[in-house]
Amino acid sequence: MKLAIERAALLRSLGHVQNVVERRTTIPILNNVKLVGGDGLELVATDLDLTLLAREPAEVGRRGATTVPAHTLFDIVRKLPEGATVTLEQQPGSAELELRAGRSRFVLPTLPVDDFPAIGGEELEVRFEIAPGDLVKLIDKARFAISTEETRYYLNGIHFHVAGAGATRTLRGVATDGHRLARIEVALPPGAERMPPVIVPRKTVGELRKLVEGVEEPVRVAVSASRIELTAGGARLLSRLIDGTFPDYERVIPTNNERIAVLATKAFAEAVDRVATISMEKARPIKLAFETGRVTVSAVSPEQGRAEEELDCVWQGEPLEIGFNARYVLDMVAQVEGPELRIEMANAAAPTVVKDPADPALLFVLMPMRV
């Protein structure tokens, strides 16, 4: 293999694919990135569950493929001067790759390309395209609620599925950790009707989000019940899906909560943040006391004292007092872009629904804390 490539292009793609390479692994080949010189340069890295591929234009003198330590190559390229041209060359039969740029020369050990895990598998039967903005929304608004508790592996990702019937069908992204839940909807992309319900793991969600950053053309999706492939720009991502059943979440979303408060999003978030300063406890409990025309946010800590702040709020009927984990409230309010927030409650122990009146696609459920 022999090729020449712009440093900027190589850095961009390497920077992307090396994310998936674990720093410590017992399988040496997984430390490596696969380089394929063909029509341009293709880079592949994998942790067996998630595979990232990138392609950059390059001047290929002699076709070929090899693998080199990903983090080392990335560090070298990162330190090369801007605007440099990088040449990569492996002599036939040699176990080393030579990298030259300007007056620098590096020789890196390689591992045989045939040892690199093959990607692919069964046919991905459902294929469709989705607007990058929709994908970003599905991810960004839901990922805060993904569970990190590994014993409930089926909650360790975003659950995507087709919801509704007929013309109003939507593509939904749902995440929950058992204490709160986020449900986001976008218009169903044509071709996605037959998509099976899937759970995309957290790590894949993170890489996926980076992949679509700054992309303007539609993202191509291919999916089966066990794998997903996404292509955006010059990069591709292949991932296994979580093999599990997402709980029947619709059952726990109340539809007839009658105690309704409407308040200003930003002012509420700031008030909660300020008051929560007092509750140094890990669980950060705060209390909301709703009464006609206002809500009082308060916190009490045996160590740190007390705090309260009053806000204007649309509220009718009997007063209601309800406790929440301040961190949960802040995480959720951060997803609401509209100027107002609608909180629908039943009582101090029942699921509370939060909506953005300006964006009906968003719905959050928050479980109260009994303080």
Partner: protein, 594 residues
Amino acid sequence: MPAIRVLPEEVVNRIAAGEVVERPASAVKELVENALDAGARRIGVTLAGGGRGLILVEDDGCGIPAEELPLAVRRHATSKLADDTLVRIATLGFRGEALPSIAAVARLAITSRPPGADSAFTLVVEGERVEGPRPSAGRPGTRVEVRDLFRRTPARLKFLRSERAELQAALEVVERLALARPEVGFVLEAEGRRLLDLAPAEGERLERTARRAIALLGRDLARDLVEVEAERDGIRLFGLLGLPTAARSDPGAQFLVVNGRPVQDRLLKSALKAAYGDLLAAGRHPVAALFLELPPERVDVNVHPAKIEVRFADPGTVRGLVIGSLRRALAEHGQRTAGRIATAALGTFRPGSTTFAGRPPSPSLPRGLAETAAAFQAPLAPLPPAAPPGAVEPPAEPDPAAYPLGAARAQLHDSYILAQTADGLVIVDQHAAHERIVFEKLKAGLAEGGVARQVLLLPEVVELGPGEREALLERTDELLALGLAIEPFGPGAVLVREVPAVLGERPSGELVRALAKELASLGSLFTLEAAIGRVAATAACHGSVRAGRRLSLAEMDALLRQMERTPGAGQCNHGRPTWIELKRADIERLFARR
């Protein structure tokens, strides 16, 4: 299909022997208990081949009259039950099984001479054959010789462990009995070596128990023991507790005695563990010798053939008494750290073991140089105290005599506080000490403000074993106070609706199952308290003054005063000591002034 037949007595005896005599140590236990029941003042035990070859137990007790000797080896024949109710059992034995069981699996010879009798009589039993009693020579008391144990039950023989292990087990049995009865002298010899030689201990009961405990557990433990004594509803508890810092990594140094009977009771063990609670790091076991005395009718000892387990009529009271009085005793000594540690520190100070800069000048140096060296090594003249700029009035220096932890004098390596007390020197590990203070505050906060409960979006169904579900549901209110809301969910399961908010996202299933087990067997909620405590401990560790932070004298004094006010300040949450003390006498000893 073979016909049903009644087993011959010999087989019955061998089966029963399997329950009572499972290894040489159990035979030793039965025989020594017999000796104690006979009112012996001195008991000698001799073992050969780990007890397999020979077990010889001699006592100076009341003996057995010649005419009763044949009865002694008959099944269910005993002198220890006055009536037939099994309610008031005041002796160690009562089942009348020991001797016949041993006789069924070994060669047994009993020589006995009641005090006042003219001569001794010997009875020899080998399987079904009984010889004697015939007159023989013997001192007052009883001497039981057991040879070739299990020779006739090869199956049992096969499962015995090495001679060494069997000997160790027998030694432990005798040690436990010896601790239970400090007024009796014990000697144990094996293969010509004297492994145990305990003179009858003198003094009041607690005092002689302490003497015996120290003789058994080692002299260095003497400084690390706390006495405990309490009584409630006719139940008396007394004994000795090791300080948390003297805890060991094996539970072998726990002696539990109920009405003079050494037991391995789970209720008492768990109460002991619960009493120490978070004072101990995981995997550390307290050293303790606890004696419980209660009217015989309130405890059932006829639960286990070897009687190592007992049942209490009101386990709740016993548990409450043990935990309550132990906690109180430990709290009173919360300031004390294990003296052994100070002793170890002293060892490292020993002159000659370290090279000091202040060594006398070597005689080979030329005179002039030697003088210079001496002057160089002389202590600096004290600097005149510099008035701080801004002339802030320095806080009044505490009087070292006024506080147990004294007045801070200096900080070493930005990590240790040196304080002078009325009669010595205290070194405090600032991180460990502050961590403990923060932890105790967090705990108090939790107790005061109640435990915040996070309601679950997806309530968790937890499957439980029979009895566990009911045990758990009975305590619903207490669980709620600790942050766990449960309700019945079909047969054999509960539904968890709310969890302690401090535990975060952790799944509750495992916690609930562990709790249910603990409740069903012991009746305590220790697991839940501990889980909440652990979170507080981690938080405390992060919110504490770390090693490496420079403290002013005022800050150090403030820390010392807080430590004095904090229960359990003698060790950090990980069970390490927070401070050690060197007495003035110790220091003087270092300099050979004493």
